[in-house]
């Protein structure tokens, strides 16, 4: 009984979150179906949807849901869009990692997962056996996940198949933060919503106007990792502080006018 209530509340929270935070996504909310772990997906998928993505497991010929989320499908692919804070590494994701130690040929990185991730020193552009990248503890790098076998440490790389960096590598200067705590400042208080991965996904989606609007006012660099970390760099500390504030608070803003007003407000504000 109690558990059911909790599940029910959770489900409602989930719907609420989708209503709130996915306003400008391409998915129409009214077409969306939400699944909980243990559910079996019965929906007739488009022809031969053989590619099964995040949050779904095959149990025999049943498609079993392992994560709570909204069902998405596209050209024979089926996956669940899961609202979570914890990052689970997936091959091909670009992430921001913090160097924590150096062991032999590997650097050990923190990418926000339960286990540390590893990166071989040869996986940097221009690195050879003699010319090793000089990374200290506390440095941050932008890398791709290329091996994420379950129950092992994820392995990262800073080069693509052609041994080119293409924007990956160490991030110098700037400021890194995790979009993690957002306060819903309404008539209620003491209530915090923690959303991170979604916001990051939203920021880098082409339809999102946040970065474009920011670019009209500020001159800055940004790197968004899929693990919820964002790195920004601007010419002055003031700008970094202002941009940081907008990025953290823009989570709930989907209206363009409101967004522009917010950026404008922060632009003229003195720190």
């Amino acid at each position: 009984m109690f558990l059911k209530c909790i599940t029910h509340l959770y489900l409602n929270q989930l719907i609420l979150h989708y209503l709130l935070f996915h306003g400008n996504n391409h998915v129409n909310v009214s077409d969306m179906s939400i699944y909980l772990p243990g559910d079996v997906i019965n929906e007739p998928s488009s022809s031969d949807s053989s590619i099964i993505g995040y949050g779904i497991n095959l149990r025999g010929d049943k498609r079993l849901v392992t994560q709570p989320g909204a069902l998405r499908s596209e050209e024979g692919k089926v996956w669940l869009s899961v609202h979570s804070k914890r990052y689970i590494p997936q091959e091909g994701d670009r992430v921001i990692g913090i160097v924590t130690s150096k062991t032999g040929d590997f650097f050990r990185l923190d990418i926000g997962t339960a286990e540390y991730a590893m990166i071989n020193f040869t996986n940097f552009e221009g690195a050879t056996k003699r010319n090793r990248p000089n990374l200290k503890t506390g440095d941050i790098i932008y890398a791709t996940v290329f091996d994420s076998t379950p129950r092992t440490e994820a392995e990262l790389t800073c080069v693509d198949d052609e041994k080119r960096a293409r924007g990956m590598g160490q991030l110098n200067g700037g400021y890194m933060f995790k979009v993690s705590i957002l306060k819903l400042d309404m008539d209620c208080y003491l209530y915090f919503v923690q959303v991170s991965l979604n916001h990051c996904r939203r920021l880098i989606s082409p339809s999102c106007k946040i970065l474009l609007t920011l670019g009209n006012f500020f001159k800055f660099e940004i790197t968004v990792g899929m693990n919820g970390r964002i790195w920004i760099n601007a010419s002055t500390t003031d700008d970094i502080i202002k941009i940081h504030d907008i990025l953290v608070k823009s989570e709930l803003v989907t209206d363009e006018d409101e967004l522009i007003a917010m950026v404008q407000n922060n632009y003229t504000r003195s720190v």
Binding site: H8, Q13, G23, V29, G138, M186
Partner: protein, 432 residues
């Protein structure tokens, strides 16, 4: 779990900003974060937030045997729990160095500063004393943890009332809150903590640092003082060598803070007492839950903000919630109300008024009188409410409304909904 390590770039930017007097939350270096303080509907509970730091404190009391060393003194125990919910680095049921520091300091501030009169907690010297327990639960951590914990604990202690007791020849009688009004603790003063971060070997001070700022700073100093400008405790977290001038400056800042916060705490306690004495059930922590979850409504898919459903006006909300509250609270209302008791009360009241009239100007200050009239009022109130409840239940129809558009919700298997509509989502509507 571990906390993600502090990166070089974060530290550089934060320190650069601090040195030029800027902070990431747009505060100045000598500005505090907002403090929010809420007392619960249960006596002796309080939640305090400072920025994102959030602590809950609950006070309880039980009768115990005193130690042979202090046979006529009550005992105050402080229990702290740092849960992994607050910070992933915390381990369940294990305090660690940070937790130990916190609990020792809380003991120092609350118990060893002698702000609570422990002699008044003695019932029978050598055999029975009150053992007051303060449970401090850290719900969220973002710097100034001790400030928040101390404020929550002090507020909870101020809010707490222990049951009244009377001594008989061979036994002690403990009265419930309906028989004799509970007694608040005797609190002489309120020690208030202030955390002050130190930068550049103490040359610069950063007031009320957040967790990230604290990680970049050289150390911090915690000053506990009260509004009478007495320093109750002084604690420095790192082994920096500070000059007397620097410490004096910190103490001055802390004293101003203590005065302001003491006023806040006393006003909250006063308000709560007034509400209780007027037989109003205080909202308690209910107001910490956003109306977003309490009320129901639909939101368009492109709505920017949370659907702000307006709270119903106070009066109608009270009438919705009061019946259940009073039934739980008042033992008189369980089952049918005894008519005899009402008659008795009325008789007594009549007698008292006649006595009062005969005596004339002399006011009757008998405890019995107030207790009886209180009881009478309560009984009448409950009667009215019960009648109202019976009538309305026939007309009422429980409607469950789910958040979001109705169609997708129906599509997903929501068997749960019919069986157990959660309280927060059920809205009763009167049909006329």
């Amino acid at each position: 779990m571990r906390v993600p390590p502090l990166t070089i770039c974060e530290k550089a930017v934060i320190l650069e900003a601090l040195r030029s007097g800027k902070r990431f939350d747009f505060r100045s270096l000598e500005e505090f974060r907002d403090v929010k303080l809420v007392v619960g509907s249960e006596v002796g509970t309080a939640i305090c937030t400072i920025g994102n730091t959030k602590v809950m404190a609950a006070v309880s009391a039980q009768i115990a045997e005193p130690s042979s060393m202090r046979p006529n003194k009550g005992v105050i125990n402080i229990d702290v729990d740092l849960s992994p919910m607050a910070n992933v680095a915390n381990e369940h049921d294990r305090l660690g160095s940070k937790g130990m520091e916190l609990i020792r300091l809380l003991e120092l501030i609350i118990r060893d500063s002698r702000c609570i009169d422990v002699e008044s907690l003695c019932i029978r010297a050598g055999s029975e004393i009150w053992k007051v327990r303060v449970d401090v639960r850290i719900l969220d951590e973002d710097g100034s943890l001790l400030d928040c914990a101390c404020l929550a604990a002090i507020t909870a202690l101020q809010h707490f009332k222990r049951p009244n007791v009377s001594l008989e020849a061979h036994h002690t009688l403990i009265y419930s809150e309906y028989e004799k009004a509970p007694v608040p603790l005797n609190i002489y003063h309120m020690p208030i903590c202030t955390t002050i971060g130190l930068l550049d070997k103490g040359q610069m001070v950063v007031i009320d640092p957040t967790e990230k700022e604290a990680a970049c700073l050289d150390g911090s100093i915690v000053v506990a003082c009260n509004k009478r400008r007495e320093v109750c405790a002084l604690h420095q977290s790192t082994n920096l060598v500070l000059t007397t001038k620097q410490i004096e400056r910190c103490v001055k800042l802390a004293m101003a803070r203590a005065e302001a916060l003491t006023a806040v705490v006393s006003s909250i306690i006063k308000e709560d007492r007034q509400e209780r004495s007027a037989f109003k059930r205080p909202d308690g922590f209910a107001i910490t839950t956003p109306s977003l979850i309490l009320t129901t409504g639909t939101a368009a898919s492109r709505q920017i903000k949370a659907p702000v459903t307006k709270r119903e006006p106070e009066s109608s909300q009270r009438s919705l919630y009061q019946p259940s509250v009073i039934i739980n609270e008042n033992p008189l209302s369980v089952g049918s109300v005894k008519q005899e008791e009402v008659d008795e009360d009325e008789l007594l009241a009549e007698q008292l008024t006649t006595i009062q009239n005969s005596v004339g100007q002399v006011a009757v200050t008998d405890n019995q009188n107030t207790v009886m009239s209180n009881r009478k009022r309560e009984v009448e109130e409950v009667n009215n409410l019960l009648e109202g409840l019976d009538d309305s239940e026939e007309e009422e129809e429980i409607q469950t409304m789910t958040l979001g558009p109705s169609e997708p919700v129906v599509n997903t298997k929501m068997v749960v909904e019919e069986e157990a509509p959660p309280i927060g989502l059920v809205k009763r509507k009167k049909k006329k």
